[in-house]
């Protein structure tokens, strides 16, 4: 410049950095329109560097620049770049695996009180139904949806009840079994998700849902116990019941966790508290969906094909081992501090 007067500070400021901003703008444009995957390695490394430089420029410009246009530009550039850089925090590779085998069991263990309440309410429902059935078997119809019972009610003969456990009166075979299995999975997982979502109403509907579920279970158990078929029923119920009833109790606990966060937010505001609890609980629901899928497979396939009580009990025992191993052991930090972060995932291999 030949001029006698110096250039404006803000003009120099902009001139020095404008090329960097444009570079960032172009990268962000591509990242937002076509996804981060379209950037090559060098560009990916450049992105956060440029983003931080733009943030620094913005901070300076907010304080010192007299050019509104410049400040507005930097505001929107930084905000756009934020969306590209912090769109989803972690690399997505391994996220699901980590969520299932580390986060899920940890969150379950951290929710012990809700888990206990969920279990107690279900058990309470079962005990109430069991006792009332002792007074009058007519209560059965109040607890069990006839559509789900499929004729297994107090009017049925012992033979028929027994037959239902061993797939006699065989209406199901081959392909129908698999359709039945996936319908069950869809139905149950939907209920589990609802159990969580209803926690948003301070957990009251969740409690009701758990209680009615317990009533159904208790009524069913009593119906078979009265005919001396309890051992056979448990053999039929437990293999899929461990993951399935377990998952419903987990989802219920997740809903209760959210409800609790609304009632007792502690030092945080209620919205903050719900947000934290909701995120913790959602991991439990994710794991439960996997449990429902496993239960659906067992329910639809195994239970109809294997009719030997001993094998059924053995399989139930196997399910109990991986189920509780997954929830209670997986994802624990190794004792020694200097171990690599690789965590044993074999506990969940029953899946």
């Amino acid at each position: 410049m030949k001029g006698a007067r110096r250039e404006l500070r803000s003009v120099t400021f902009r001139k020095e950095r404008e090329a960097q901003w444009q570079e960032l703008d172009a990268l962000v444009e591509r990242a937002l329109k076509k996804g981060l995957g379209t950037l090559n390695e060098a560009e990916l490394r450049r992105l956060p560097v440029l983003y931080r430089a733009a943030l620094a420029s913005l901070s300076v410009a907010r304080r010192t620049a007299m050019d509104r246009a410049l400040v507005d530009y930097l505001e929107s550039l930084a905000a756009r770049a934020f969306l590209a850089v912090y769109g989803s925090r972690k690399g997505t590779r391994g996220v699901i695996r980590r969520a299932l085998f580390v986060e899920f069991p940890r969150r379950v263990r951290a929710m012990a009180p809700e888990m206990a309440l969920s279990l107690v309410v279900t058990a309470l429902g079962a005990v109430v139904a069991w006792s009332l059935m002792g007074v009058d078997v007519g209560w059965y119809d109040a607890f069990v949806n006839p559509a789900l019972a499929g004729g297994r009610d107090p009017h049925a003969s012992t033979e028929m009840l027994r037959g239902a456990l061993y797939g006699e009166g065989g209406q199901m075979e081959g392909g129908m079994l698999s359709i039945f299995a996936s319908s069950l999975f869809v139905h149950n997982a939907g209920i589990g998700m609802m159990c969580f979502a209803l926690g948003f109403a301070i957990g009251i509907p969740t409690l009701l849902l758990l209680f009615t579920n317990g009533l159904m279970l208790g009524a069913f158990l009593r119906l078979y116990a009265d005919r001396g078929l309890l051992y056979e029923l448990c053999g039929w119920l437990l293999p899929h019941g461990i993951p399935e009833i377990g998952a419903i109790i987990l989802c219920g606990a997740a809903g209760l966790h959210m409800g609790r966060s609304m009632l007792v937010p502690g030092r945080r505001t209620v919205p903050q508290s719900i947000g934290d609890a909701g995120r913790r609980a959602s991991m439990v629901v994710l794991g439960s969906v996997v449990l429902f899928a496993i239960a659906g497979l067992i329910e639809g396939l195994f239970r109809q094909l294997v009719t030997d009580d001993t094998i059924r009990y053995a399989f139930a025992g196997f399910n109990a081992i991986w189920f509780f191993g997954w929830l209670l052991v997986a994802g624990r930090e190794p004792r020694r501090p200097k171990r690599p972060a690789a965590l044993p995932t074999a506990k969940g291999s029953g899946a």
């Binding site: 410049m1 030949k2 001029g3 404006l8 803000s10 003009v11 902009r14 404008e18 901003w21 703008d25 996804g35 931080r52 943030l55 913005l58 901070s59 304080r63 010192t64 007299m66 050019d67 246009a69 410049l70 530009y73 505001e75 929107s76 905000a79 756009r80 934020f82 969306l83 912090y86 769109g87 989803s88 925090r89 972690k90 997505t92 996220v95 081959g174 392909g175 129908m176 698999s178 359709i179 996936s182 869809v186 997982a189 609802m194 969580f196 979502a197 948003f200 959210m258 919205p271 903050q272 719900i274 947000g275 909701g278 995120r279 913790r280 609980a281 959602s282 991991m283 629901v285 899928a293």
Partner: protein, 300 residues
């Protein structure tokens, strides 16, 4: 979110996210209408996928007389239905196809970046928010049965409150956003406008010194607000949107206010205004270096 005191000055529908770098960034919250349209679009895609899956499943089932393909389709369609939003928001950095179409994005409210648990939580609430009310509208018996009024009333009230939430909360937060700790924002657009202190219209070798200079007293009258208004006018003049008589009028007003003597405002108002803008800006920036800020002419 920033501290409550700062939030109060934010206009409605604008939210502030503080990233890990500690610089607060402002976003416009997406409106309920935009989000609804994006949701409808996504819903359409999900339904389409479901229909295609089911048709394919039926054809294969009929052709092979096996039940397994249909069983697979039932589970697959359900998974698509439930995990469409979760999957896209996870792998497309917080945007489903519908959101991308409308230029929306999910951000985490604490600025730490979207996490899997937040995405799952916000999408698990959707059933409750959309399909429970829908079921109640279409088949109330299925939900309420013959429930007594003392159960109906709180339930109905709760559902209405939940549905009304996005309309009344300042950031159009729905229940799922609350539970996931997320917000939906518009992706801002960037336009770098020209710097009016740089002489674009002059030849590169033209002298940048003007014949007239303003005294410190003259420059001490106006503040940032007026400077900004002047910049906007100059920008309009450059693009031909401002009429010459407007420029003359403004130049005349400024000259009178600061006590400028001479015929410049009459003869070449544009050049005069530009010179005044430059020197005024330099003056304000210089003062700012010493910590003296002048927001407008009313300041001080």
């Amino acid at each position: 979110m920033s501290a409550a005191a700062e939030t109060d000055v934010l206009p409605k529908g604008v939210l502030e996210v503080v990233g890990p770098e500690g610089v607060p960034l402002r976003f416009e919250a997406a409106s309920v209408a935009e989000r609804f349209v994006a949701y409808l679009f996504d819903l359409f895609l999900v339904a389409l996928t479901g229909i295609v899956l089911y048709i394919g499943g039926f054809i294969v089932t009929v052709a092979t007389r096996l039940g397994e393909p249909l069983a697979l389709v039932i589970a697959l369609a359900w998974l698509v239905w439930k995990f469409y939003f979760i999957g896209f928001e996870l792998w497309w950095q917080g945007a489903t196809p519908g959101k991308r179409l409308l230029g929306l994005k999910v951000v985490s409210e604490d600025g730490a970046g979207l996490t899997l648990d937040g995405i799952i939580a916000r999408n698990l609430m959707r059933d409750l928010e959309v399909f429970l009310p829908l079921t109640i509208l279409l088949a109330p018996d299925q939900v309420f049965g013959d429930a007594p009024w003392y159960l109906l009333l709180p339930t109905g009230g709760w559902i209405v409150a939940m549905l009304a939430l996005p309309f009344f909360s300042r950031e159009h937060t729905r229940a799922g956003d609350l539970v996931g700790g997320t917000r939906v924002v518009r992706v801002p657009k960037t336009v770098l406008r020209r710097d009016e202190a740089v002489r674009h219209s002059l030849a590169p070798d033209a002298p940048i010194v003007d014949a007239w200079t303003f005294t410190t007293d003259q420059l001490g009258i106006y503040g940032e607000h007026e400077l900004e208004t002047l910049a906007a006018l100059l920008r309009d003049a450059e693009s031909g949107k401002a009429r010459p008589e407007d420029l003359r009028f403004v130049a005349h007003t400024i000259a009178r206010k600061i006590g400028f003597r001479g015929s410049a405002p009459e003869e070449d108002p544009r050049r005069f205004l530009r010179a005044f803008y430059e020197q005024q800006r330099a003056h304000l920036e210089r003062k700012l270096l010493f910590g003296q800020r002048k927001a407008s002419k009313l300041d001080e």
